[in-house]
Subunit: 346 residues, 2 copies
Amino acid sequence: MTETAPRPTLEAVAARAGVSRATVSRVVNGAHGVRASLAERVRRAVEELGYVPNQAARSLVTRRHDAVAVVVAEPETRVFADPFFALQLRGISKELTAHDCQLVLLLTEGRDDHARVGRYLAGGHVDGALVFSLHLDDPLPGLIRSAGVPTVFGGRPGWSDGTGDVLHVDCDNRGGARAAVRHLLALGRRRIGHITGPLDQTSAVDRLDGFRDALPGADPDLVVEGDFTPAGGERAMRALLDRCPGLDAVFAANDLSASGALRVLRERGLRVPEDVAVVGFDDMLPVAEQTHPPLTTVRQDIEHMGRLMARLLLRRLAREQTGQDPQDAAPRSVVLPTTLVRRASA
Amino acid sequence: MTETAPRPTLEAVAARAGVSRATVSRVVNGAHGVRASLAERVRRAVEELGYVPNQAARSLVTRRHDAVAVVVAEPETRVFADPFFALQLRGISKELTAHDCQLVLLLTEGRDDHARVGRYLAGGHVDGALVFSLHLDDPLPGLIRSAGVPTVFGGRPGWSDGTGDVLHVDCDNRGGARAAVRHLLALGRRRIGHITGPLDQTSAVDRLDGFRDALPGADPDLVVEGDFTPAGGERAMRALLDRCPGLDAVFAANDLSASGALRVLRERGLRVPEDVAVVGFDDMLPVAEQTHPPLTTVRQDIEHMGRLMARLLLRRLAREQTGQDPQDAAPRSVVLPTTLVRRASA
């Protein structure tokens, strides 16, 4: 399997069908104006010989590969450790597969490799790209723009391309965070801390804004930056308890950091929710159900967001292919609502 | 970011550098025989304009993309649920990144999509492929062969391409299984059951052969087919206990199915290892350390196997590129040793 097996050529197909090379090429590339009986002969020859058109050559004409790249702007270790990405990929995979479109996941060891990802995207190997988990100083958006591939982003972009037309899918991070904190206030909690996500991501910034909406003028000591991981949640929870021993509630920017916070509270002998109430974000299952106690959290439908990203991109590609103006009645960015899910932790 | 941004063309670079289109093309494609001062001017123009050569066009000449596809012949749900794949991908990713080679993971919803994977591989988008978790009736090997891309397989292939030269990396599945069962015999166990993996995979077949090597003429009732998942391990363990109530040991073909078997034994009130000793396979961490009790198992270095797969492929590609006969002093398939790791379960 390691040597290059001889592949049937266009010439071989032409000879078998008894037509010219140009005719085969036109049939293979879906051009019109080939007589039906000839086209049928070519198709039969293609099938009999198992001819696979060289897509590299074909793409010069059609620029269509029926493949979409997915880039998660995180090292592969995080892509596989955080179930958020698996859920979003599940939605994307289902939608692309339903359209017989190949999902091409471009993995990296980290941000240093993003220039290479940009080269692959620019290389004409995919029709479009879905990009998520961007950090603000990441060069990817610029690389993608010069690659010239239609792209849909997961999460509100933290930059502008000047046209205001960066297609994206997001959830109502700010409104969801506001609802979480208001729920804690309604429970009578008065010293409410916040474990943020990494503040170079718009989802984390928007959730922090929602926290501040509900608690204007909150003590800055009550906000500690986390990184959306359980270990980051543990670190931030320890810092919060050291700074504010009278803390009676915590809003964590995602369920994984909430799970870390719960472990530290148990370790310190604090009861949840009696001493400290905890609310997360995501409603990531099974995480949110398996914490002790089960987690009250803000639900967003992650798999559905993945589906919508893929759907938006496929519609844009279809409009471009049929020559419709992509600006006219084009698909628009989507912001999905969130809902508070009450379990035992608050 | 959604519209196709104008991309600087070869013509623009030629105009900027004050040279012909052909000269730019030769410099960009790394051809020799361009005067150094001219080449330098072209390179400067390429950089100033942010020109990215169209790889689709370039690949027609060079057939090099510095990208390698990885295909796991399982649905994406299993790829993300089984840590085995994350570990193997980790090794592959480290090795490819060290060579500035892009890892292109082709995800699918299942076997029905493998024809599309074959088309992507045949399309000239990657230099080679790494393929693992193949099942015996999968059409992928045939599709890959007609795609003509150099390939390294993870796991002994269950077919022959006629040349006996299917490059692969595997561990000593049969020897490891034999050692596991001999360890149970040495502990004085006499009614030893086996939970196999899916028997359309050579790793599962080889481990079953190792079990039979150590226990020739074993009662067929003592062998139940699993599927390498915890749920499959539970089902198989229940079947074993129903058939052979006097069972005093189990060898499970991987750690995930051993973890399912341990849950069923606990459920039935059987003590491990006092009543039933259990041995797994993989030494998958943290799984093997976090079972109750911690698992005695056969260790294989999964991440290292991933690295070796990538290394073998890159060497083969380098030989082809430099025009060396790939058969002569070529890299050879590798079978890695296994070791028994003793913990509390046997």
